[in-house]
Every structure is written in C-alpha cells, then in structure tokens.
Symmetry: C2
Subunit: 120 residues, 2 copies
DNA sequence: CATACAGTTGAACGGTTGTTCACTTGTTGA
DNA sequence: TCAACAAGTGAACAACCGTTCAACTGTATG
C-alpha cells in the first residue's frame, strides 16, 4: 500500500520512505531562498568582488576605483549601484566626488570563509 | 607636477594621492577572484540552494530531490552536476539510485552568515 | 554663466545560465 | 535478454547579466 509521501515520478517506497517530507522541513520558504540567492549572486562577479576588496583597504571615489581596477567609470558606477542597493557599501558626497566605503562587517567573514573553501 | 599614480581618466591628484596603489594591494589575483566568484555563483540560484538545504537534512536520490522540490529529474540532475563539480555534494550509487549528500561543512557556515545578513 | 570634470543612467549588445525536451546510459528483476 | 525505471546528457530556447556607448545631472572653478 502506498504512503502519503509517494509520488508518481519516483516509486521509491521501499527505499526511501517518508524522506521527502523530512527534507522539505529543511528547505526555507521560497522568498527566503530568493533573498539568499540574490545576496550570493552579488558576490558571484569578479568585478564586484574586486570593488569590495579594494574599498575594504581604503574608501575611494568612483574615479579611483575605476583607475584601481582598470575599468570605465560607467561600469564601476553600474556595479556600485548593485552594491548600494544590497547595502554592502555606503557613500558620501565630497565636492565633485562620491566616496564609497564598505558598510558591513559580515561581508569580510563570508568572503574569508569562501576563501578557506577554495584553498583546498 | 603629476605623480606615478595619476591616470588620464581621473585627475584626482590633489584629492586622493596614492590611493589607488594602496587599494590594489587589497585586491587578490585575477584567478583567485575568478575562483571566488565562481564559488559564490553556485549559491546564487534558489534551486541549488534548496537542494543543499534539503540534502543537509537527509541524503537523497535524484528522484526524491525532484519530488521534494517539485521539479523535473533532469533539472535536478543538471544542477547536481554543478554541485558535484564544485565538490559541494558527494554521491554513491545504490542499485538504480544515486544517493547524494552534502560534502562540506564550510557551506553551512557560509549560508548561515548570509542568513544573518539578510535578516536585517 | 560657462566650462570642465565626477558620477549616474538607459538602451543595446553579446555572453551566460537554468529549464525543458528528447535521447542515451546504466541497473535491476522478470 | 528484455522491460522498466533511475539518472545523466546535449541541444535549444528564453531570461538574465555585465559591459559599452551616449547621453544626462550635479558640483566646483575661472
């Protein structure tokens, strides 16, 4: 006799009974999952990472960031918008320049943990 | 007189002298940056995250994962390949099934740190 | 006020990515 | 050995993403 957790796609009754419902408990709500993935997506680009690394050393204007990384001001500005929206950088205007600086300390931790992982 | 760190795009001599070279020291090598971003990219997808969450509760075959998350076996298999390549899951064959399980403990830490961040 | 420069922004492009579909591989049991 | 089912795979498609280009805004200085 088939149980509640049986599903048409997989007749795994004998092998993994009741497993799916148990697993489902471990999976966060869809919107949490989405926020989480959006968060990680931001770190999934070398340019944005290098901006964060650079700013972690010294706060800089867009122009200096561009010069540091060898890219156009426009490209940097676009990426800074992403980082701003995610509240990973703060900024203040100083005359003609806008100075950006890192705004979160979690970030360093997360990146360091990741560096630990890839160095294996 | 212009300094070494001056760049044609940004005449910021008077404002942020020598900043760029200082910032550059904080930026890892391009290939490190690339590996790091590739690593984060993997977590940048809700599907892959949910697979990792589910497997963290209980090891499962592809079929059960698909049933748990309400997606096709093919889609799951494709994503598992990504997770396998990044060595974030291990697997063993059991008869007709292939049982997947998480293979790294760093992962839990990183995800939890990220969850801390987004709950603010 | 006009010029110069810092920064932002929207459209467009090329490349990437996740899912679907159809097919293949591999394993078990009749 | 053949049928049935789990899993993996390649091509194709649509959606997404990062950069470039060409504007535009905003601020300081002559």
């Amino acid at each position: 006799m088939r149980e509640i957790n049986d599903l048409p796609e997989c007749d795994a009754v004998a092998v993994h009974e009741g497993v799916t419902s148990l697993a489902r408990e471990g999976v966060p709500a869809p919107d949490t999952l989405l926020m989480l993935s959006e968060f990680f997506k931001i770190f999934g680009d070398p340019t944005r990472l290098s901006i964060l690394f650079a700013l972690d050393r010294v706060p800089m204007c867009v122009c200096d960031i561009a010069a540091t990384l060898g890219m156009t001001r426009s490209a940097v500005s676009h990426q800074l918008k992403v980082l701003r929206t995610a509240q990973l950088v703060s900024y203040r205007r100083e005359g003609k320049n806008v100075i950006y600086s890192p705004s979160d300390d979690h970030v360093r931790d997360i990146i360091e943990k990741a560096l630990e992982h890839i160095s294996e």
